[in-house]
Amino acid sequence: MKNLAKIYVNGKLIGFHEKPLELREKFINMRRQGKIANGISISYDDFTNEIYVNTEGGRLLRPVIVVKRGRSLLTNELKEKVLKGEISWEELVKKGVIEYLDTEEEENALIALDEKELTNKHTHLEIDGLGLLGLMAGMIPFVEHNQPYRSAQGAKMFKQGLGIPGTNHCLRTDTESYLLWYPQKTIVKTKITDALKIDERPFMQNFVVAIIPYYGYNALDALVISRGAVQRGLGRASYFRTYSVGEYHYPGGQRDKFEIPDESVEGYLGEELYSKLGEDGLAEPETKVEEGEAMIGRTSPPKFIEEITEFGVIKEKRIDNSVTVPKGKSGFVDKVFITEGPNGERLVKVRIRSDKIPEIGDKFSSRHGQKGVVGLVVPDEDMPFNEQGIRPDLIINPHAIPSRMTLGHVLEMLVGLLGTEKGEIIDGSAFQENSYEKFGEMIEKIGYRKDGKQVFYDGITGEKFEGLVFQGIISYRRLYHIVSNKLQYRAKGPVQLLTRQPTEGKAKEGGLRLGEMEVEAFIGHGASLLLYEKMVEDSDKVRLYFCEKCGLVAIKDRIRGKIYCEACKSNKVVPISTNYSFKLLLQVLLSMGIYPKVKVGEVV
């Protein structure tokens, strides 16, 4: 038993075998002959002497060319047939020329990257070096020149890039979506972008990028962007937000109604705020709606049915239930959709569009994980320029390159420049031979230096820079982290019902919390009156009256203009300004059965 190899199928022990390697060999041969499905894999672990057969779905499989005795089974003869289209992929798989490996079986395989390096030890040959990469990493040109983690970061950011969200984006009613105005084909493509047909629905733009510091405004991964370029439409996007609301039905046959509320409606906002509504109570397309203005006018039936008086039915007082534009979400009414809801009620969706022009605080990134936030928008004439008078759209800091080792970024800039000069789109797929020398020589032929560095002039003084500047063309994408959607501030605003303290969070227009450690810092600095202001004045300050006799909170009856203690009916009270949460504490203590007797007096 000891020498027998254990055999697991999908993790379950099903038996033992004397010669595991022979079993594996036989199994693989049968699979290549088509007797076993090509999705089933077998692998042998010689350390534990176990064989694993996996058939389950969800495993990652990738195709490789089978190698026998150091020779690729995809012979020249077959290659020609493939080129002519005489043989299909499926047939190659069926013939056993191409095989799918999963992660475990890959451990047993020795895969050559190139046909030239094949030896007798190799079991497989890579169809192309790109096969190592996933779809996202495969879209990055010259990935093999990058530090792997940077490429992974770059791949992660593909999903954050703005572009065209769908072919039906004109009719979509997503709560939030973005649309990039002038997406461009990338000048440096890869085989994967071709396969994915990225050029037909692009999401990037080709920026002229220079790598120089700009008066500290691009330090620490900040970007300096040209106002001229922005005004010409660089990185410009639209932001759509859809508000959807229905004419809901209530028990008792009452229902909401889309209309322009009149003055008699409870919670009437004022004539001005309803001015953008059309006759049907909905905002007209292409009108501009500002913060607080109604875009859907809607009234709801009253919460309580009014009593019927002797003179007949009083006209029911309806409640305003209009949808207004939230803080910071003003824009143009893009489209108004009227449909039917699940219960047969009228459903209205209003889509607001606003332009998101790149500004300080917006995020951009290249495909190599080189992301940055705009630190300054510079007038076009202040941008540095080269001998041809070309000014960069974007300036990144030289410090962004060495420690991150994203040479793919640098190479893409150079090749982008080459492509623009030649007027063609260049293949930048991974694992090309001698890319530096190849592209360097090509750019030299056009008249640039081999390393792509250029003479530059200061845009402000007009003086020539002492050193040379590297400028190239590289595709950048705008990421959906846009400041104007994140900006939040509060001077006064909503408070919580229970504690009367300011609300928390952007959605509720909340304040920023003065946390425990901040309080401790105030105390440490002796800034006790500042602390008092933040904890009481700016928060839940309240004027309370305490009974002199029993020390409980007294009641202020505004209607009768009397202040008295409910517990002992005395009207000898002392006013104290404190915070509302203290009143809550006293009440909590009372509910615990503890009598907190407040004595008021000067304690020195």
Partner: protein, 364 residues
């Protein structure tokens, strides 16, 4: 203090031939600088101390340093040790002593080493394996020769010593290093097991809790460093220099020398722990040590320690076990004077610290 500073400056100016205006200028600068370092009225010294020691604490490594191969025992370092001290934990992770020796012992390494080895606590269970045979009522003690050799003992002596304390028929075997015991019928099985446990715990030599000893040259004398501490027992020994011998367990120091010594031990140990990696002003350490010891016994900065001492029920409730403290305060009819920081924040009044401590009044 200011007079002393002036005196020093006067002496210095004589030494460097400073003229009078320069001397006065220097005095002014130095005194100004000196006065800046005063603690001002209303300053929250406790809070500043806590922050000044807590913030560097976050920078200190969580890793305990073990210098491999170095001739010393770990005495604990970093944030764990600092926490042990501040919490006034009774059992510490790396108890240790530095024993200074008197006279000839301090100069002669061999004698010191011999003395040190005698301190090491050795029990039978450390060096022997005991096999019980309940059917025949036989017990066999098998001594490990290696373990005995490691501890600089002689196997014959050990066997004789153990055999003395055994009730029952004993057969010694020096070559094999075993003792065989045969119990008669008077011994029940339970009693045999009890006997075996008694033998296992039999002390052969040494002082309780001393698990390891090392002789190290410090300056020009030999000192003994130990793993495990028992200050009281060590101090009773004759050849010890009781003026220098020290433990890192502050509770042992407290028991042996009293609260002032414990306070000094806290200061010394905290300064050492912090001094290894960061700089903390000694005044913060002093304040902490005073807070921990001013009651006459060591109180940790914890709910069982100084939190119990606070007069203000709200301040106590704000720390831990809120409901328990509120209920207790109500039960004892306690009064909250609203003087502390926490109490004033709770009731929404300015705290009596810094700017809140002073008031301006109009004249007239």
């Amino acid at each position: 203090m200011e007079a002393k500073i002036k005196e020093i400056i006067n002496n210095l100016s004589k030494q460097f031939n400073l003229r009078k205006p320069d001397r006065e200028k220097l005095k002014k600068i130095v005194l100004e600088d000196y006065r800046k370092r005063f603690v001002h009225y209303g300053e929250a010294v406790g809070q500043v101390s806590a922050q000044s020691m807590g913030e560097p604490g976050t920078q200190m490594t969580l890793r305990t340093k073990h210098r491999a191969g170095a001739k010393e025992f770990s005495i604990g370092s970093g944030i764990q040790r600092a926490k042990e001290i501040v919490d006034a934990r009774k059992t510490i992770k790396y108890p240790s002593m530095v024993i200074h020796l008197k006279g000839e012992l301090a100069r002669d390494e061999r004698k010191a080493r011999k003395f040190a080895n005698n301190l090491l606590e050795i029990r039978v269970r450390d060096i022997a394996n005991i096999k019980e045979n309940f059917e025949e009522k036989k017990v066999e003690i098998v001594f490990s020769k290696d373990a005995i050799k490691e501890r600089w003992l002689r196997i014959e002596e050990v066997i004789d010593k153990v055999a003395e304390k055994i009730k029952g028929r004993v057969r010694k075997n020096f070559d094999k290093g075993t003792i065989r015991i045969h119990y008669n019928d008077k011994f029940s099985l339970l009693k045999i097991r009890k006997e075996v446990n008694r033998i296992k715990n039999t002390k052969l030599q040494g002082i309780k809790n001393i698990e390891g000893v090392l002789v190290v040259k410090e300056g020009n004398e030999y000192v003994i460093k130990t793993r495990g501490t028992n200050l009281k027992a060590i101090l009773k020994l004759e050849d010890i220099d009781e003026t220098k011998t020290i433990s890192n367990d502050m509770f042992e120091i407290y028991a042996a020398f009293g609260i002032e010594a414990a306070r000094n031990a806290i200061i010394k140990e905290l300064s050492r722990v912090y001094g290894e990696e960061v700089t903390v002003d000694i005044r913060h350490v002093l304040l902490l040590a005073d807070t921990m010891t001013f009651t006459g016994e060591i109180k940790g900065i914890a709910r069982t320690g100084i939190n119990k001492l606070k007069h203000s029920p709200l301040a106590r409730a704000a720390f831990e076990e809120t409901i328990k403290h509120l209920m207790e305060a109500a039960f004892l009819n306690e009064e909250e004077r609203i003087r502390g920081v926490v109490a004033n924040i709770i009731v929404g009044q300015p705290i009596k610290i810094g700017t809140g401590r002073i008031k301006l009044m109009m004249k007239g």
